[in-house]
Point group: C2
Chain length 419, copies 2
């Protein structure tokens, strides 16, 4: 259970060595490892909850906010939920060994492109113990070793969780060094992880926009950016009232704290008189504060005047910004300026507007006449979600297990040489 | 033809704006643009060759080596060859708009994953004018704008080529700002390009290992690493003599200056007496200098003693390192230490050794009983080659046009909300 005092580099080298064994495990062996991980976490519930209580007590003494304390808190039901999520990942199809391309070249060399594990997956995240278990399970299921660097406020909780998971690897006769934590090394751990090119194959930051920005700008290891969502819904001149009202309430109210919730509504001026009053009333009835421009304020009551800062705001709360736009061009220009390229939607009955929006808006997911809340690995049918990529390299949008793999070309010849 | 004196950032912003137009061009329009590019380059041959002569003259005065002068030199046939390569790219299938996944979610939302251009592709490379034209053509064919930063020794040549290509865009009524060069901005241009996150979507360095290392470690823009090849061939105990000899000569001698040429040969000790003498003799007959360990030297004449540096060497010349290994494990361990994960090969009649090698060796391309020279976009049937990726994110191995695209999820509903 104790973490040997070694350097970050030594631990990452151990992870790299262990990754070779993990990468060759069969589908069934990986499922067994994950089930064992879940069992081990449940069996150590008391210890995990006790260590978590120590983190919470330290957090309170250091003035950790109630919200962050709640994210950090583990009790027996939450520990059981963590283990249950691991069992769900165990049931997903193996992303390794898929044949992605086959061809015969050079007069008889058989070429096969197969999916292979990355090797070592790193993650830098905040004081959310569920990420510790999630990322470890997803990485192992896809044949990777994992190096974790969570928030120091969760250090003891994470150590207990990592200890439980490493015990499970030992019990399965798998190298426990496949799971590493750098939490005890403070900022040096994060820095060393970001510089570990050649040891760590990909780094997945999880957390606030600021944390992700730091990792993206400082890391020499390739990063998969799972970013913030300044998500827009455009209400076109032709938008159906019932669709507009239902989609906007769903997109804003169902779960305001997540990245696929809508943050800005852009209403075509030809629909403003018809739809602004009812949309604002619907939202206010659900407890939403509407930050509107003059055109919105003129058509509804209790509208908070929007400032320039509102257009760039990811509220993650029961707040929404709202603006009248001249036309589709104006809406697309606004989105180009403020979008984080996560999810953008339009509500329209006009096929031309819909297709223009789909073609011209640059985002991971572009939606016509549906809620932005569908941008989610579970909803997309991936079974689990590694995160939602807002970058264009390697993966874009909701990522499943296949996004934690790379590829390898296998060439089988019989003495073939190049002409 | 003249480049307005603007900052790198201004030019990249112009490229970003132009990328929206380029990204929406039809397949046929993009073909026309490329054909026009080729015509424009040919029509301006005299000017290009004259500007190139100025670069060469400056290069000679600055002590540019004969080899680098040759890489820089353009005469009329070489200009024609550049244009011809552009015409070949025009004939390749459009990589944009491919449907990569389709599913229905949420009780009726139609989800389509399509390939889309990255937006703006950047490239940092050395004084090779052919790269200027290659990268521009590949980027435009895949719907991207391009920002070029070539070696300053080719500044006037590149300006003439970029001018010719921008004229072609104008003639096709396409925004000429889709092709930008930063050559006149010196080191600042390269630095600004590497920091242009949000403006440039992906950066492809081309050139020496040192240039690539600099870009990979300093860039905040996501990089596709096209790396060096310290390529190994393992001669197993069971290797057929004819295959071993033909493959090794082909892999070393056919084109020693390229990254898929073999640099180190590892011979199983049980095959050493049988094969080392003939392999060394074959290579020496082709003018190759063999840098061998004691086991190799004991079995052949004129072997230069290998030092530790030889095992890490990408000679790119008629030199090869050669070592006796105890077994497959020893060979794989050597490869793990020195491989650049480009291409690794084994020559063996033992199915078990072949499959172990394919599974355990971590490289973009792993080869059994064929030449390492097959690692090439043309040989793989891609028609053109963007480079050979030695990283694991996004693309691995030879890259074709599809590797210059990202994806976008399109969701089409009819008032659907998330339950």
């Amino acid at each position: 259970m104790s973490v040997t005092v070694t350097t970050a580099r030594e631990r990452m080298e151990l992870a790299k060595t262990a990754s070779r064994e993990i990468g060759l495990l069969s589908d069934e062996r990986k499922r067994d490892v994950l089930r064992s991980l879940a069992d081990s976490i449940v069996a150590r519930t008391d210890r995990i909850v006790a260590e978590n209580a120590e983190d919470l007590s330290r957090g309170r003494a250091n003035g950790l906010s109630d919200g962050l304390q709640d994210r950090l808190r583990l009790d027996a039901p939450r520990v059981a939920a963590l283990a249950s999520a691991v069992r769900d990942v165990a049931e997903l199809p193996d992303p390794v060994g898929r044949v992605l391309d086959e061809r015969v070249i050079g007069g008889g060399v058989r070429l096969t492109k197969v999916s292979v594990p990355f090797g070592v997956v790193g993650s830098i995240y905040e004081a959310r113990p569920n990420v510790t278990v999630d990322i470890a399970a997803l990485a192992l299921r896809s044949g990777n070793a994992v190096v974790l660097r969570g928030g120091t406020a969760a250090e003891r909780t994470n150590a207990a969780l990592v200890g439980a998971m490493r015990d499970a690897l030992r019990a399965q006769d798998v190298d426990p060094e496949a799971i590493q934590t750098l939490d005890d090394l403070g900022r040096d751990g994060a820095r060393d992880l970001m510089q570990a090119r050649g040891l760590v194959d990909v780094l997945v930051p999880r957390g606030s926009a600021q944390l992700i920005e730091t990792v993206v700008t400082q890391s020499q290891v390739p990063v998969i950016e799972t970013g913030a969502g300044v998500v827009h819904i455009v209400v076109d001149a032709s938008a159906r009232e019932d669709w507009a009202r239902e989609i906007i309430v769903n997109a804003k109210v169902q779960r305001p704290s997540v990245c696929n919730a809508v943050e800005t509504i852009l209403v075509h001026r030809d629909a403003a008189d018809r739809l602004v009053p009812v949309i604002v009333a619907d939202l206010q009835e659900q407890g939403v504060t509407v930050h509107g421009d003059a055109g919105v304020a003129a058509r509804a009551t209790d509208v908070v005047p929007a400032t320039d800062a509102d257009w760039a705001q990811e509220y993650l709360s029961l707040d929404v910004a709202m603006r009248i736009v001249d036309d589709i061009d104006d809406a697309i220009a606004h989105i180009r300026t403020f979008s984080t390229q996560h999810t953008e939607a339009i509500i329209t009955e006009d096929e031309g507007s819909a297709e223009r929006f789909l073609a011209e808006v640059d985002a991971a997911v572009v939606v016509v006449n549906a809620s932005t809340r569908f941008t989610d690995g579970g909803e997309f049918g991936f079974g689990a979600e590694v995160g939602i990529s807002t970058q264009k390299l390697h993966a874009r949008g909701p990522m499943g297990l296949p996004e934690l793999t790379s590829v390898k070309w296998l060439a089988r010849g019989a003495g073939h040489v190049r002409a």
